[in-house]
Point group: C2
Chain length 317, copies 2
Amino acid sequence: MSDHDSIAGIRTATVVGGGVIGASWAALFLARGLSVTVSDPQPGIEEAVRGHIAQAAPALGALGLDTSDLTARLAFVPDLADAVRAADLVQENGPERLEVKHRMWRVIEENAPAGALFATSTSGIPATEIATALKDPGRLVVGHPFNPPHLVPLVEVVPGERTSPETTERARAFYEALGKRPQVLRKEVPGFVANRLQSAIFRECVYLVSEGVVTMRELDDIVTSSLGQRWAVAGPFRSFHLGGGEGGLPHFMSHLGAGMERRWADMAEEQVAFDERTRRLLTEQVEEFGGSVADLAAERDRRQIAVMRALGEGYDG
Amino acid sequence: MSDHDSIAGIRTATVVGGGVIGASWAALFLARGLSVTVSDPQPGIEEAVRGHIAQAAPALGALGLDTSDLTARLAFVPDLADAVRAADLVQENGPERLEVKHRMWRVIEENAPAGALFATSTSGIPATEIATALKDPGRLVVGHPFNPPHLVPLVEVVPGERTSPETTERARAFYEALGKRPQVLRKEVPGFVANRLQSAIFRECVYLVSEGVVTMRELDDIVTSSLGQRWAVAGPFRSFHLGGGEGGLPHFMSHLGAGMERRWADMAEEQVAFDERTRRLLTEQVEEFGGSVADLAAERDRRQIAVMRALGEGYDG
């Protein structure tokens, strides 16, 4: 029917849920030449999604995509059954409540073409649990982006217990052809990988600030000027492998492993919680960041795009 | 006496200990125009240090410094007393053993000029403990670089209980004028900040690999394509502040704080150690990185320099 681009066999995508994640996916899909239908019954959603897409356009342009006619193939179809009838891909970004997802996916399966690929952006609910609503649970896989999807390369592809290998591979190939960096996890774990790591480091961040060792802003400056720059180019394992001299990671484990285990034991003793005192302290220190959330986010994205370009990342590679 | 450059009043630096950290400091000091005396009684140290300096030169050049005549003002004086007699700054990079540091610092204080600034690169021993060897403990401060010091911007400046405010400020101003990003900590804590954060995230990294959720290389790829790129430009607090919509960090804490606390509780139950099985698994997976440690490190540094240049970082800013 359509003569426009296809990405790994996908021409027509239905984005279910028009919040920030859904709208960001929509912007990227459109910039990649797909036809996109956004389905969300909320009043005012069309204006909100168009606003998000307009906001995402400069970043997509800076990353190498043509954004001159971004919304030419964008449609809004509030009714979910109608919205998925011609979909090659359904990317669901609904509320993170199992019963809502079950209801949505039943409608999607009932009405989407038999060959459509089913992906959920969930950050918290395993595909195994969502797929119990499906007649064919083999069709559904988690495609969890790191926010915002149009900018951050990672997509965690997490098959459930009954996801078919074909579905997983199709999703991986699609995200890769889209220009993302998909990573297929070998096991379903709550929070997947990136958010677990983020939580792990954040506990110690909150501890150090609540103890008065540094302020939030000072801690952030420490990270951007050391670990962040390293981890943008070499992850934690590679960093230790390359920090251990010629002996690499095995040498590191032999010589510094015991010290790190002691540090872990000490950290386990730390009391860290978002209690009243901690919330008040962190809220007060937000002042230090200066500027509105929107301005700071724009500045962050501008700088991240510069980093990505320096590393040869983007959608024109 | 000297007509060459001074950095915040420092013209002549003595680098005590010619290992990788000491040699990296020496390379940066030299490229900044200081006279540098390296003091290390180890046989063969001069050749090793000259080798490290030659290795560091391309990075220093790429970061904006003139490295054409890097070793013209480099001297080797094995005897510590002799080595510090003309020093404006002593940057000590000795073994991480308290009694060795005590012995060194007694000799340094006895023989260095009364106005010399005393800094230790220690990553583990608080200035308070090292300074008990000094007649004037107010003169000593921790200036802990993130390895390698000629490349990574961060220097953690950590005063001990008796470090004078003047010493702390002098050290901070010197590192800043040198082109680093010094951060003065408000409290002495074991491991300071960057290494504690690194340990915290690494525990979960080891857990996820030992559970078979991902391999080391896959985990590293997840980090470089998500958290790393973010944290190179906005630290963990700012990232959550900007990820919470207009409500910022307070909204994040209200809405996602409880979920993160549950994740912390779950993580605390994880058994993680560098036991035989874990060491074997991680050692096997080192193969995945491909290439020698030296080649991989050169590649990482090249990419980090590209990131730093994209962010306007370097020694010519």
